[in-house]
Symmetry: C2
Subunit: 197 residues, 2 copies
Amino acid sequence: MNIITIARQFGSGGRSIGRELSQRLGIPCYDKEFVKKVALETGFDEKFIEDRGEHVQVGAWFGSGLGAHSMAGSQSIEDFLWSVQSKIILDLAEKGPCIIIGRCASYLLRNRSDVISAFIHAPVEDRAKRIVKLYGESDVKPEKRLEEKDKKRKLYWLHYTGLEWGASENYDICLNSSKLGIEGCVNILERLGKGES
Amino acid sequence: MNIITIARQFGSGGRSIGRELSQRLGIPCYDKEFVKKVALETGFDEKFIEDRGEHVQVGAWFGSGLGAHSMAGSQSIEDFLWSVQSKIILDLAEKGPCIIIGRCASYLLRNRSDVISAFIHAPVEDRAKRIVKLYGESDVKPEKRLEEKDKKRKLYWLHYTGLEWGASENYDICLNSSKLGIEGCVNILERLGKGES
């Protein structure tokens, strides 16, 4: 397999798995680097792209219509970002082996036979501990932060793909990173990436 | 890990994976053998248990109430089978390493740390070919047979566990047997069963 896409619940360690896998397989991992590419192409700020590039702005977006976000013509900023991101992902896949984190890459590349799509998840209690360790405390309880971020990713997936984020049938492999360990998940994906089974 | 539970979409090869895994790990695989145990305990016919032991009888059950199926007191046959099956699964898990196919075993054993729960799925077109090859043609189109059986399993899960059958977060590992191959799935689960990662 040439390409591995990694979708992930917030705090499940999906990003860490992608980075470690990138080292082991010696292929690029697009995550932050991806955001830079989109920034370069669109002129938008990186932070803005991180916020809007895989999250539906609940309320603002669905609630009050698209008026406030409209670009030239009637395209919303989200739709504009979606089209730029989609094009970049399809281009990256053409360039050669890589790992792509999030951004509906598994959906966009679903018709390529050289892609393995993974989804990483973990129980809420473990993810709560992980995000506090990684990103520190905030005014909002970690469980609430998880719920909000996952909800946004779920809505984003549903809106742009019509499919359910996290439903096993939308991925080739789904892994519980608490049960199998970050290292265990990397090992499984490394073998698949090398075409071993 | 001592115990591997395998839930599966109809025609995904989950049962074949369980049997091959059983050979390789040298531990029993409860599937047909399980049905025999339930038959022995309840006096019901094996065919009857296969039909009712992990399927909701849509319409008959939800539609017309439980009256027609009531056992002593107000317990339905399905509830009676559920309680017998649950007890047998919990007992089997106590006895030692094994593989259990279907019957909500991953849910029943969710609090044991020595269990790996797997879900096997595959695209409809591949499963349709597989069931025709394994079970032959019937008056009903294979896609329709898949849809009906999966729907019944989904409803059964929802009714007895309150959870969604096939949602990745309800399993430790979910595998697309078409993409990864039956052999590939067995290899991954064999390593997990041996405690390798």
